[in-house]
Symmetry: C2
Subunit: 196 residues, 2 copies
C-alpha cells in the first residue's frame, strides 16, 4: 500500500468566506435540476480547502498515527482533524455534526526520533488534505459525484487547495469510511474532545 | 520504563482567569524575598491546569505518538500540546514563546485499531497533563523548585488540575527536556503550525 493510498481514510471543508453562502447554495442545488454544470461547480466549490487559518482558529478534534510498514520505524503518517468551534459545540450538544459542518484532515508524513521519552513520531511534511462537509438533508446528493451519504467528500494533494483529485466519493472515499457508516462515516473514537 | 515514567517528557499552563494577574504576581515575587511561603504558592498557582476549555479555545501545536514497547502494538501514548492563539502568533513573529506563554500537554493512553488505512492509534484516556509557563526574565526562578531555566514546570496526574506531583523541575522535568535546551527546552520540531 502506498502512502497516498493509505491516506484515503478519514475526513474534510470549505472556505470560511463561503460558509455564509450555504443558504444561497441550497437554492443553487434546486437550480441544478435544470443547470447541472453550474450547480456542480457551486457545490464542489464548498469542498475546497478553507481559506481560514483553520489550524489556528478552528478546534483540533484529534489525530491518528498510522504505523509504518516496519513497525519499529514508528508512525509513517499523522492524520490531524479540525472543525469549527461552533460545530464542535453543536456535536457536544447533539451527538452529531450539524448541517454545513466542515471537517479538515491534514495528512502529514512524519519524522520519528529516539527521544528521552522513547521512540516518538510527529507531523512533518503535508501530504494532502481531506475535506468533508456535512449535508444533513442530502440536498447536494447527485449534484456531483463528490456528494452523497450525507456528506461532501474531497481530497487535495500536497498544498493544493482548489483542485481535488477525488472524482467519485464512492470509489475514492467510501472504501475507507464504510466501516464507520454507523458513526455517520466519521472515526469519532479518535476525538476525545467530543466527549468533554 | 513505565507509562508514567515515559510520560515525563515534554510540556505545560495556568488558569485563564489568573493570567491577568501576572503583573501583580511579578510584584508578589519581589515580596518573596521576605515572605517566601506566600510567594511560592502564588508562583506555583500559575502552573495549575487552566480553567479555560483550552482544547476548544486554544491553538493545537502538535502531537507526538510514542511507540509501544511491542512496536506492532502501535503507539502507547499520545502527547497533545496546546497554547493560546496570541502566544502562537507571537512565536510565528519572533521565533520564541513570549513571557507568560502557557503550554499545556495532554498525555493520553491510546487505543490502536486495524483500520482500512492500516494499523492506527489515537488518544483515549487522559493519563495526566504537563503545564509549562514561560518566564522569560527568570523572575520566578528560585521562588519554588518548580521554576527555573526560563520556565515554570509542573505535571498533574489523571484529571487532577490543582495538585502537582512535581517537586523539583530539575529532577522531574529536565531529564527529558535537557536535549532540547537549545530550543528553549521545547520540542518545536513537532509543531508544524509554528512555521505557517
Amino acid at each position: 500500500m502506498t502512502a497516498k493510498e493509505s491516506s484515503h481514510a478519514i475526513i474534510w471543508s470549505l472556505p470560511a468566506t463561503m460558509l455564509a453562502l450555504s443558504v444561497a447554495l441550497a437554492g443553487t442545488a434546486v437550480l441544478a435540476e435544470s443547470e447541472p454544470t453550474s450547480a456542480v461547480s457551486s457545490s464542489d466549490a464548498l469542498l475546497q480547502v478553507p481559506d481560514a487559518d483553520y489550524r489556528r482558529d478552528w478546534a483540533f478534534l484529534g489525530s491518528f498515527s498510522v504505523l509504518a510498514d516496519d513497525p519499529e520505524a514508528g508512525a509513517k503518517e499523522f492524520h490531524v482533524v479540525y472543525t469549527k468551534r461552533e460545530d464542535l459545540d453543536a456535536y457536544r450538544k447533539t451527538g452529531k455534526f450539524p448541517d454545513g459542518a466542515v471537517l479538515v484532515k491534514d495528512v502529514f508524513a512524519t519524522k520519528t526520533e529516539a527521544f528521552t521519552t522513547g521512540t516518538a513520531s510527529y507531523a512533518d511534511t503535508l501530504v494532502g488534505r481531506f475535506v468533508m462537509v456535512k449535508d444533513a438533508a442530502n440536498k447536494f446528493a447527485g449534484s456531483s459525484p463528490l456528494w452523497g451519504d450525507g456528506w461532501g467528500w474531497a481530497f487535495y494533494e500536497g498544498t493544493e487547495t482548489r483542485k481535488t483529485v477525488t472524482t467519485d466519493y464512492r470509489q475514492d472515499c467510501l472504501s475507507c469510511h464504510e466501516p464507520a457508516r454507523d458513526q455517520d462515516f466519521t472515526y469519532v473514537q479518535g476525538y476525545p474532545i467530543l466527549k468533554n
